[in-house]
């Protein structure tokens, strides 16, 4: 391969990768009501109960009033670890601390159930958390992959 062709190939690969990363991270500005409506269409989410701002503070240490919107659902059973948390911030940096709060919550839940709740620990280990644009998504559920896809479709 000649030098110039090699350079073009590398340049094209890099541009394609940068384009992919940028579009993957890009998120539309969708209202939290619309996101909640879409999430509730999933039977796993519909089977959970909606949490309050106080629950979000209690379980995650996250102050709902600091963000543009927060959606929180939690499994109804006492020993359920199923959860869905979606936070929308003013900017990508603004929601970054929520990621730490989610990591702490998952660690704490794993410690709580370690030793006597193998199913819960397995579910927690398979949790999904990611940031897309100004949103952060966290879900622990048997169908967390499906719920995450539904969220991606909305935004």
């Amino acid at each position: 391969m000649t030098g110039i062709v090699k350079k073009i190939v590398f340049g094209v690969i890099l541009l394609a990768f940068l384009f992919y990363v940028y579009s993957d991270q890009n998120a539309k500005d969708v209202s939290m009501d619309k996101i909640k409506e879409a999430m509730l269409k999933d039977e796993s989410v519909a089977a959970m109960e909606e949490g309050t701002a106080r629950d979000v503070m209690h379980y995650f240490g996250v102050d709902v009033s600091s963000y543009e919107g927060v959606i929180y659902f939690k499994g109804m059973e006492a020993l359920s670890v199923n959860e869905l948390l979606i936070v929308k911030g003013a900017s990508r940096d603004a929601v970054a601390p929520v990621r730490d709060a989610i990591d702490s919550r998952v660690d704490s839940q794993i410690k709580t159930f370690d030793g006597y709740g193998p199913e819960q620990v397995a579910l927690l280990n398979d949790h999904i958390v990611f940031q897309k644009g100004n949103y952060i998504f966290y879900c622990t559920d048997e169908h967390s992959g499906r719920i995450a896809e539904e969220f991606r479709d909305v935004i």
Binding site: I13, F17, Y22, S91, S104
Partner: protein
């Protein structure tokens, strides 16, 4: 994946070391390469492709650069440097650039901020050091792509340095010594680094955060206590990571350069920067400062060279104006030390020199720890009686009473004596030294189990 995590210490590392020691010599690089890619992709499943791209790209370009050089051309060198800077710039600086353009021209440019690929500043600088050294004939071009990818992706130092220059490890990629003595030294270094991070840095970080949250309950002394805690935190956090990286390297037969040499015993800012983040300082000296002419130029040109290097050093740390201010702050102080008051400082009593250096460094950390320039200014005002806060209040007394012992232990451990005494003990009574080291490891693990998630400060660079 964090070094200071249960998963790394009890699962990943033992498995990797077992495989690494078990396989024959010629397969060791392959084991390390696979482990490094798994390590990186653990937290960066997409960006691992960027790192692999960087390795393949620089590998091929270096071969072309070596060939072109014989004909006096440097177009591939320029192309390679531009591409490396483009990658770094796209992920690290484009948001900063657009924000700056928006504020200067009063326009609103919408963009999607991207997460920073972990370690991108470190591995990009490593790749560029190789490219420059190939061009300068300082190293032979590496013809084995696996060895070059291993150099760039070596998991012990991939994420937060030290920035290892290719010429320093080129020989070790082919031949390295692995013996029980080196493994023992590596384990010792790793445990000490882990303890620095988990026991000291995390606790000091919590103190700094508490002070930052004081808000209306802030006092002058609390502001100083807070920045003293951060000063110690960033040292134990970053040098702890470097210790772990160097220790892991030793376990695998690599000899990475030292990154810290007790910076807080310095008696001048010039000395501080010879002791702090040595791998970054030497990188800038070798590939930017000396090519610009270094100090073998007229005074005004030397001043410009220093400002360029320190502006870039600041920018390397982060894409925001506080880091640029932090870099230029050191650039200006180094110029003043060199041309104005350095000779007077050198004649002062040793304790005065030390206090001078530490106050300058602590003020510098204010810009580093607080991203907003105005918030940093407010914090500095609190430190220097300009914020209208009381000198002392009950919150400060409470914080001092509950943290004094930890801060004192940390301050003593930031000097060379504890480590020197510990090494003397290990050499004199090895069994006792081993028991103490094991005890330190157990205490560190206990801290780790009961602590929350605390990533390394330098991961964001």
């Amino acid at each position: 994946m964090l070094f200071s995590s249960i998963f790394f210490i009890f699962y990943f590392l033992p498995v990797v070391l077992f495989l690494y020691y078990a396989v024959p010599k010629k397969a060791k690089n392959t084991v390390l390469l696979i482990a490094s890619i798994i390590f990186y992709s653990w937290g960066e499943p997409v960006y691992v492709f960027l790192m692999i791209f960087s390795a393949i790209f620089n590998y091929f370009m270096a071969i072309d650069i070596a060939r072109e050089k014989k004909h006096g051309k440097k177009s591939t060198l320029i192309f390679t440097v531009v591409m490396n800077l483009l990658i770094l710039g796209f992920f690290k600086y484009y948001g900063f650039l657009l924000d700056t353009v928006s504020s200067v021209f009063g326009v609103s440019i919408n963009y999607t901020p991207l997460p920073l690929p972990i370690g991108i500043s470190f591995y990009t600088f490593q790749a560029m050091s190789y490219i420059f050294d190939v061009y300068r004939d300082n190293v032979k071009v590496q013809i084995n792509p696996l060895k070059f990818t291993l150099y760039l992706s070596l998991f012990p130092q991939l994420i937060a340095g030290p920035i290892v220059k290719y010429k320093d490890v080129a020989e070790q990629l082919d031949n390295r010594v692995i013996n029980l003595n080196l493994i023992g030294q590596g384990v010792l270094r790793f445990i000490i680094g882990l303890a620095k991070k988990v026991i000291l840095a995390n606790s000091l970080g919590a103190l700094f955060e508490t002070v930052r949250a004081l808000d209306s309950d802030m006092s002058v002394l609390a502001a100083w206590l807070g920045i003293a805690a951060y000063t110690l935190q960033i040292y134990f956090d970053f040098s702890g990571y470097s210790d772990m990286a160097i220790g892991l390297g030793k376990m695998m037969g690599f000899d990475f350069m030292e990154n810290f040499n007790y910076p807080y015993i310095s008696k001048s800012i010039t000395e501080f920067w010879r002791r702090w983040h040595i791998s970054l300082s030497t990188w800038f000296r070798e590939y930017v400062y000396i090519p610009l002419g270094g100090n073998r130029v007229k005074v005004h040109r030397h001043i410009i060279n220093l400002l360029i290097v320190w502006g870039l050093t600041g920018l390397w740390h982060g894409a925001s104006w506080n880091f640029v201010a932090w870099g230029l702050y050191y650039g200006i102080l180094l110029i003043l030390e060199k041309y104005v008051f350095g000779k007077y400082i050198a004649k002062a009593p040793a304790w005065v020199q030390h206090v001078y250096a530490m106050v300058i460094v602590m003020v510098g950390w204010v810009f580093f720890s607080i991203e907003s320039i105005s918030d940093a200014g407010g914090y500095l005002a609190d430190m220097f009686f300009l914020g209208g806060e009381p000198v002392i209040n009950s919150e400060f007394i409470y914080l001092l009473r509950t943290n004094l012992l930890m801060v004192l232990i940390a301050a003593v451990c930031a000097g060379p004596r504890p480590y020197k005494k510990f090494m003397e003990l290990i050499n004199r009574i090895p069994a006792l030294g081993m028991v103490l080291l094991f005890g330190l490891f157990i205490i560190t693990i206990a801290f780790l189990i009961f602590s929350s998630y605390n990533p390394f400060l330098y991961f964001r660079f």
